[in-house]
Symmetry: D2
Subunit: 388 residues, 4 copies
């Protein structure tokens, strides 16, 4: 392993949640070292946060525009190698666009941007600039999610018929946004979160998980969105029927009012010959079904797993890895791609601008379906047109 | 405990599955003794099956009509006290109607009948005859289902917001009906099973479970039915969005092609202040969530349970009871009602003609919704009109 | 199935626990019908209990001696086919001996008798009388315990190296015997329970489970017994190191003071090539390990199980059976043996006088080891000598 | 957070397992940056490993003696702040002693040293030098282990009666040490591993877990050690009966031949009023029992936990943390102590030379007990005398 790459960060100052996650994930494998930042929404708070993180004052910028300028002013070999964007959603697009156009590699939190129009524009910019661009659909980094993808791809389950995906949480079962909770505040604010609440924040992860594991293309959806907490301005609960190209069907459930559920992302897939079941909260077991056979319980770190799953864990079997390690697998993949001139290592795959655009598209179509009297809303995603 | 009541049975001859279940359930607590039967579709097979069960030849009838006549011919104190109908679905209505009209108490398998018209007529007959009538939505007999119902009723979860119910199985993932499988054969035959496959056979149990536990009234549904196995004549998979009176929402999933799932009936309910999770395959744990508290795991046989849940188990905690014991709770309730002149013991509740009618209504509306371009189909059940 | 056999019962009057279990187990499959009894310790209570059970007054005897006499006085074809002895332990021997000598088949609760001397004498009597004799080590009746036995016997685990068996409960964590609890009262009374408390009541089940599944012969034990509850007169906790013939080792833990554990009987076996794990409280999963392979989860009712395991369940997979069904498997085996002139059906095996004697021997050796300064106490059981 | 402290490492070159774990754990929270190393057993391999890790060649030393000399030669503010010793066991003592005596803080893998004599000498050296010294009994770093400790200390379980601790693995079920497996090789070699195999490698973790959580002092043990794999030179399986000061009893099981078990460290504690159950392989659930109450399932990241448990996690509830995060908690505590002039932060506690000495003592007494004909071997640990 060579020296860590240099990371800059936009957002992630004190009080933030996901910024710290990105920093730990970036650091865990020595992939990146955070050396620059525009960490908060005001200049003063940015510098204070920078100091708290041990950033050199000269690279703790007041705004992201200053950071962009400041880093560009440094000699080429001394600039940041990538920037992580961990702000509320509405800031993703301007920052990502600007850094991409200036030739920086970008790691952007999800949902990538607020609209398909933004997604198209950003996708075009990424293509033109030729930079590495990652969207942190971090759950795709779990070893057993990679194993699940390999199982489907290998045909071990046969043609997929039914997909059940859920992402349930209970933390917004009460009106937390009125209680000085920074996370709840912006996530329930349409101006900063976008057109959707639960659908954007967690439903989008669920959509990505299905797409990652099954490779199936959504064609139609039928959505019912709810806002259960009085006074809330965005949906906090979603139920969708799904139809996929090729005839598979599915259900997607996302809720922030499921009292007692912490971070219940689960995926079940049933094919003609087998099935699988994975749960994020106990991520180190993958239940695999086969017609006429006893269920098997796959666990990370074992030789019986695919190469891809094995590459995604660091420890021997029985030494559980979890959320941060899966998240770090995204950063590991990004670092490998950057070192490799922009080419992904197939064993260290990560979601990019296509997955980010698909997620934004899914959010838009879901909101459209929820408002529609028609049963089925076309939800087909065409990355070409998205990026046209 | 007094002597067992006398039970007659229609259906349940050799090769049947549910007949044996009914007999064991009826016998377990000494509630009933099977003394008469018209067990098969032909006279000869009926008598052979009767002999195999140890029935007196004189009460092993060739047809259910003969049984009705034969039992009526006996002195009143010597007739069967109830008849169990465990035939394929299409036979339920004629047999139930005839026995009810003749004044016999009836235990009828589900779905109760094939149409709402039949349900109305049968309901009226039951009301007029004043007999005890049970429909074996047997999962309502589990102690922890009763505890769940008490929890919701007591307000421990607050107003219910979201209900997730599933009944998944994998046994029909291949075309079993072509392989001399008697159970698969009639269940996939519209003439014997009715208008629905998975929806009628298991979706109806799911509907009953939701209704039993939450007491919520369905107002609208949006259904997607599939037939995944080529050549099959009825649906083998269903996904529904649910809307309830009062604003609760839900999802109902029923599938017979979920490879590897054996009998996966599960219920999750989330209210404003709490939630619960129950799984039929491990029926002796009920997970209970409360805002801000650690989850609790309730188990049968403990003093902390409601009186209703405690009345539904026979053994000390840790001595698991399961499917047959839950089923026997239905028979226990029926026996108590019969002995009590038709009045149910509130601690030994069981589903009757209203629940049976509601189930039939649900099946019909689901098939209607699946065929509809409209998103929402009215699914409100009006037992008055049903029985008018 | 022919008509039920006729069962008499000694013990099991009102307030008892295990008598009701025996009756439900005997009845579930229609194996037996309880027609006679000497149910309580006084004549009056016996008759009251008999009436409550619906026994004919003429066969509801005041004492077991009267029952023996009364049944012998009936014509041969009209006597009870077997007697179940479900009294406190100290009554087992006199009743069993008398009925055996009179030629009756016997089902006796465990531990079979109070001493090896009694065990020898009873064993000899059974051999001489040629009757069928069962000891209700009921956990051996679980389908997956039978599968476990088959797995070991088939060599699927390789030579067994390590056995871990536990039977933990928490119900005696306080001095329940002072609180009018009939079950606690006699179980903690040396005059009625015998030389051991936890070891006799539940440790003996653990010993039987190991012996049943592994077939291994204990050679040496090292026991530490405790009485944690002040004032209690027998042990309420036991830990033993085990050594088996052929070099396997093990640990046996039995406790009645494990607060929160309901009926925690578990078995783990590790061989050179595989292992297994079974838990009584969730008895429908058997975890099977194999070198280099993912764990498999076996479930009852599936074709991949051994014939013996399949013969022990009544329902399709996913329809859980539990404690009473396992217990009923003992009665089913006894009924088959009686009908078959005393020859066991190999698919319906049940523990008999050898297993009963082995259990008594184990209890005695454990108490001896606990009192010894020496590390190892010889625990080899010689059924020949026991029965000499 | 200020800048990371500077870490040197002895051992942990290519092919090692635990060195990489230490580096990730040290890095995760930015506590430490690895800047120096003597990573392998030969000079050339050390330098190659150093280069692979991105160490500056000038601080990639050929031997630990050179590293000690080299670091001492640097100006005081530029030396390493601590050294991690991650070699096979036999190297711990000389390296630790030398660095401690030179005034360096030390993080040493377990078991700390090979004998009580070494432990005493090292303890004295630590006391005299006044340095911070940690032994990586890393499982004590799990949030729910800390919660368990708080629960016992708070009296929530009442006086502890029974402790069951197990550490089972299957990876050495075959003679892996003959198959070029570096980890198996030294662990089964008495010259490098010490007097014990399984007992030293994993049994010692189990002992520490009991001591950490319960605070109970072992007084007597009764051990049975086995070497199941033919040709192996150390024990690969251990079963011990435990007696504690104050009357509690226990069982400790450690095995490396439990086929199919990956890293099965579990702890169960039963007191007069409650109990708990924790499993390392699913470390984010702590089952808590209370007399007469339903079991509760505690999960990290929730407000209902103790301050100590909350301080040990980084993420919101439902975002699982695992082995590396728990390990990093040790490094976080060490960094806090170093920054704080050697005083531990009570919320960031970690095991030190006393725990290390106790572990060595336990290993010695276990081997002694296994060789003894006497049932009980005195196992009381006197840290005073150990360090006298």
């Amino acid at each position: 392993m060579s020296r860590p790459l240099r990371l800059g960060m936009v957002g992630g100052g004190s009080g933030a949640f996901i910024g710290g996650v990105h920093r730990m994930a970036a650091r865990l494998d020595g992939s990146f070292e955070t050396v620059a930042g525009a960490l908060s929404s005001t200049e003063q708070k940015s510098r204070e946060s920078g100091r708290a993180l041990g950033l050199d004052d000269r690279r703790s910028y007041g705004t992201w525009e200053q950071m962009l300028e400041g880093e560009l002013a440094r000699p080429e070999g001394d600039r940041i190698d990538a920037v992580s964007i961990v702000t509320p959603n509405h800031v993703h697009f301007p920052v990502a666009s600007a850094f991409v156009r200036a030739g920086f590699n970008v790691v952007c939190d999800k949902p990538m941007v607020l609209s398909s129009a933004e997604a198209s524009e950003l996708s075009r910019a990424v293509r033109e600039a030729g930079v590495t661009f990652a969207v942190t659909y971090n759950y795709s980094g779990y070893p057993l999610v990679r194993e699940a993808r390999e199982l489907v791809a290998s045909g071990a389950l046969g043609t997929v018929r039914k997909v059940l995906v859920e992402y349930n949480q209970g933390w917004l079962a009460t009106r937390l946004e009125e209680q000085e909770n920074k996370q709840a505040d912006w996530r329930t604010d349409p101006a900063r979160s976008g057109v959707a609440g639960a659908v954007g924040d967690i439903g989008s992860h669920a959509e990505n998980l299905v797409s990652t594991v099954t490779g199936l293309e959504l064609t139609h959806i039928c959505a019912d969105l709810s806002t259960f907490v009085p006074g809330r301005r965005l949906d906090d609960d979603a139920s969708l029927l799904l139809r996929f190209d090729g005839g598979a069907k599915g259900v997607l459930i996302a809720s922030q009012i499921a009292v007692g559920i912490e971070n219940g992302l689960t995926l079940r897939v049933y094919g003609e010959e087998g099935g699988l079941h994975w749960r994020q909260e106990e991520p180190n077991s993958l239940l695999v079904h086969r017609l006429g056979e006893a269920d098997r319980v796959l666990r990370p770190g074992n030789d019986y797993l695919s190469e891809s799953a094995r590459a995604a864990s660091r420890l021997p079997s029985g030494h559980p890895e979890a959320f941060l390690e899966a998240f770090a697998n995204i950063y590991r993949g990004v670092a490998a791609a950057i070192r490799n001139g922009g080419t992904k290592d197939p064993l260290l795959d990560f979601p990019g601008v296509v997955e980010g655009s698909r997620g934004v598209h899914f959010i838009e179509r879901t909101v459209e379906s929820a408002a529609s009297e028609a049963k089925w809303t076309d939800a087909r995603f065409r990355p070409e047109s998205a990026a046209a």
